[in-house]
Symmetry: C2
């Protein structure tokens, strides 16, 4: 039943990756440790050798999810970012999508460490959206904050209305996409 140290590290990685996806899809309380470990291909008994608590896994999973988000978005051409971010495909796939939009609700109720990991992701996205020159304060950073807020708000509203009011959901995506294509998007 024991595996090599290398394999154990790989298993731990897979748990974090799985959590980064499932917490975004179902929320922190929407997935239990038994099912989460099962999705990672393990049983739940080994969990507490690798993590002190489910809350600690949220901290790591948040860090992982925000890294995935900024890495992915950095690879999208600046001119396409708003269209990709506000697409129906992104709306339908929170598990592989923006960590800020998908985790904000749970992170607002999490501890300071998790919020700090989340904030680091916000900073990286600001640098990305602002074209690299938004790290310091000033007008470029203010533009980036305004743009990121509109992106996150539009996606969050679109997801909460996707099934019950698909026309409004599509309209919100399309409208903000169009507005952001004009300037800093």
């Amino acid at each position: 039943m024991r595996v090599s140290r290398e394999q154990a590290n790989a298993n731990r990685e897979r748990v974090v990756e799985t959590a980064a996806r499932l917490f975004r899809e179902r929320g922190f309380d929407g997935i239990g440790l038994v099912d989460l470990m099962k999705e990672a291909g393990l049983t739940h008994g080994g969990f507490y050798r690798q993590f002190p608590s489910k809350e600690a896994l949220l901290t790591e999973a948040t860090g992982r999810a925000v890294s995935q988000t900024s890495d992915y978005l950095a690879g999208v051409p600046a001119a396409d970012r708003a269209a990709v971010y506000l697409s129906r495909e992104h709306r339908a796939n929170p598990g592989s999508g923006c960590a800020i939009a998908a985790l904000a609700g749970d992170v607002a109720r999490a501890d300071a460490k998790t919020q700090a990991a989340f904030a680091a992701g916000v900073e990286r996205l600001l640098a990305c959206v602002g074209g690299g020159e938004a790290a310091t304060s000033g007008a470029a950073r203010a533009d980036a904050i305004q743009t990121l807020s509109a992106l996150v708000g539009a996606l969050v509203i679109a997801r909460a209305t996707a099934t019950g009011a698909p026309g409004l959901s599509d309209e919100v995506l399309a409208t903000v996409r169009k507005r952001l294509a004009g300037d800093a998007g």
Copy 2:
């Protein structure tokens, strides 16, 4: 143990009001029916005579919360709305604050009926933010969608960083507040 029909209706109202507050504060999975009913001054045994399920209470509580939100915001002078919405006080009090920002995550995973109640709230806020002329499509409605998205996104990000990165949280509130004060805010 039985009360008058009038009192029973008042009790039911209080359960919906309590849920509208607690779901915003703790999330749908963050409050159990036993504690929720206790906060409403009742025991949990009577719950299922008034509501078919906890999910059905979410539908009603969402409708109640969005009504409170649009009613409150309609009473705030248009010039002050962005400052009130993006205040530290609003950030600290989700239970009595904007239903869109506080419930979006849970509603994205809820049924179509709950999403429809949420969408009705979005429409009412668009009319409010747009100054009443945003109900029909056109530039005024697009402005309102852009403004509401920025408001919701900024508040959601500010809440998720309030404890772990208070400087960033304050900065997001202040920046978007300043930007929206200029135009449609």
